[in-house]
């Protein structure tokens, strides 16, 4: 009994000061699992609101924003204590969001309402609501903060939002069920994944012209089950890792030639991912198997599977 208490005390003591971490939201457990990047073990499990999905840190990592979808709110957590500091008005059913480079405005996709809500995290007020297509999900912001993208799953579009006027200035059709969007760091390209279409479309930001469409072929998996969802660029932007959902693979794509270079086997229904702060490891959330796969970025190999909660969804690194 005493030794257990000692262990608990030492855990409580060690956890907050430990090194880099990966935070993972567990959609069907209403928790966050915190993985220590050194030991590759879950060191904390923190309760959240209902159905946590998108998660992201403030620029100084002093706040964690959580889309608590079924609580219809964005929660603000102190990552040191795990305490919920307050809730932000988010519109109904917030699924995913992106934090503007100004570290202040959250752009939130309201999945059930076909709306993108813009919230000021300081005043805690909604400053705009923008009508978008049905089931908005993917959110991205350009590095200069001038453009925000919302993708809508059933409307099959990427909506280009001017952040000054908070209004849509262009719409680009993509293949079925767009799920995720990312700008390249220089801001010249926008990438959008289409889950049911099985493709990733690359747009030139300047004129929203389509410059490439990437297709995937996983050996032994029917094409219908190869469903691209979340993806991340490497630090040098030479490569993109793309989660392929129920095919249980992550594709490694050359970001310059748009060619698929490799496929890495991970857990079941791989969804989103994030890099360790030093960018040497990649952590993928595997919804159906309820675990996280750790990929060695240089070797392009899966090196460990870590059990987390039920239906891990989002991932965010904290140095």
């Amino acid at each position: 009994m005493r030794s257990l208490a000692l262990v608990l005390m030492s855990l409580a003591f060690v956890a907050p000061v430990s090194a880099a971490e990966i935070w993972v939201s567990n959609e069907k457990d209403d928790t966050i699992s915190v993985i220590d990047v050194e030991t590759l073990e879950v060191v904390r499990t923190i309760p959240t609101g209902e159905r946590p999905r998108g998660i992201t840190f403030s620029k100084d990592y002093s706040r964690l924003y959580i889309c608590a979808s079924d609580s219809d709110t964005v929660q603000v957590m102190d990552p040191e204590t795990g305490e919920i500091l307050h809730n932000l008005p988010s519109g109904e059913d917030p699924e995913q969001f992106v934090l503007h480079p100004n570290d202040r405005h959250l752009y939130i996709a309201n999945e059930d309402d076909a709306i993108t809500t813009v919230v000021d995290t300081e005043t805690r007020k909604v400053i705009a609501q923008i009508d978008v297509g049905i089931e908005p999900e993917g959110m991205a912001v350009s590095p200069d903060g001038k453009i925000v993208i919302t993708t809508s799953e059933t409307t099959n579009m990427a909506h280009w939002i001017d952040t000054e006027s908070q209004s849509i200035f262009a719409n680009s059709l993509v293949d079925s069920r767009p799920r995720h969007a990312e700008f390249t760091k220089g801001g010249s390209e926008l990438w959008v994944s289409s889950e049911i279409g099985g493709t990733v479309t690359v747009f030139k930001v300047e004129d929203q012209a389509e410059v490439a469409k990437i297709r995937f072929e996983v050996q032994g998996v029917h094409a219908d089950r190869v469903q691209p969802v979340g993806f991340e660029f490497t630090e040098d932007e030479k490569r993109v890792f793309i989660a392929l959902g129920p095919s249980n693979h992550v594709a490694v794509v050359n970001a310059e030639t748009y060619e698929v270079e490799d496929y890495i086997l991970v857990g079941r229904r791989v969804w989103h991912m994030d890099f360790s702060p030093d960018k040497t490891l990649l952590f993928t959330t595997n919804g159906v198997s309820g675990d996280v796969t750790v990929i060695d970025v240089a070797a392009l190999e899966a090196i460990k599977t870590i059990k987390v909660g039920r239906f891990p969804w989002g991932a965010a690194a904290r140095p």
């Binding site: 999945e111 059930d112 076909a114 009508d131 297509g133 049905i134 089931e135 799953e153 059933t154 409307t155 099959n156 579009m157 909506h159 849509i168 200035f169 262009a170 719409n171 680009s172 059709l173 293949d175 079925s176 069920r177 889950e195 049911i196 279409g197 099985g198 929203q208 012209a209 389509e210 029917h222 219908d224 089950r225 129920p246």
Partner: protein, 393 residues
Amino acid sequence: MIRALSLSAIMMLVAAVTIAPAALAQVEIRIAFVEQQIDPPPTLSNLDPLPDDLGRAGAELGLEDNATTGRFLGHNYALTVHSAGSGEDFLVAARQALSETALLVVKAPAEALLALADLPEAADALIFNTSEQATRLRAADCRANLLHSITSYAMRADALAQFMSKKRWTDWALIEGVHPDDAAFAEALRASAGKFGLRIADEKAWVFDADMRRNAAQEVPLFTQALEDHDVLVVADELGDFGRYLLYNTWEPRPVAGSEGVAPRAWSGVVEQWGAAQLQSRFADLAGRRMLSEDYAAWAALRSLGEAVTRTGSADPAALRAYILSDAFELAGFKGRPMNYRGWNGQLRQPVPLVHPRALVALAPLEGFLHQRSELDTLGLDEPESACRAFEE
């Protein structure tokens, strides 16, 4: 040659839409929902009355979904409803709809559907069957202007047979009701059992006229006691008349499947995977009830039209039909994989959920049932089996 030309024209349109999304050319799309209302025959239980807006509510949701997308493209959708009451002439409603638009979404029995499709003024129309499961409409009685967004009896029976095969419930006892729909489903079940190497060990017709609500516990054990050895009791009771009283009252402890128990359906309120929870909640907000198969089929018909309009920028029925039947078409139907139409009989290829009232049990096609073209073609009439020739041009 003509087909090749029209396809390349479509491709050009697609390119135009993709490259210049901001250039809005206004397109007006008018769709008619045409229905023949039928007084359902009486059933023993009144627990689950058929909703008055069955099908129509799905069409309305499809319209809303299309309109949201159309708003960004300058595509304006309108839906009108033409309803023939029970005993009224369906063709009067159908002709009125055809005088307004050539895009029809229809809920009507086989004979009414064929009469509509064969009207001279319907020759260039594009008609979606959203309710009739008769396999013959996908075979010898197919029509080039008639597509099917509802599953056929054959697709549902094949889905169940795949599940049984996987479970190794190889020996069936089949109980068949007296309604023509029961006979049609039973016939499909017999064919599926043969197709997947399963055995119908025994068959019985349900001929009781007693009120099973009070005496199922006395009658059903006796009724099932005489059946040859079987792994599963398969029920063809498409109206939901007696099947519900079989569960847990059988002589041997056997699972029930078919119209009751584990049931193959085009859709069910318990489907929550593959993003379906969003579709279910949109439907519940609109209709105040759960989404059923006919609602789903009408929604899928509207969305098929919407998808074709979005990608082609056209409201011309011939252009839409060509695009819908092309390889480029794909519909995200919340069943885990893209859906499209069979080029040989106009049937929407789709997974079939196997459900009980509280949860999804499995989704057919099940793993391991392979096909050279699409695993979805392991369900229903495949190209070599189909006697449909109307789609050959």
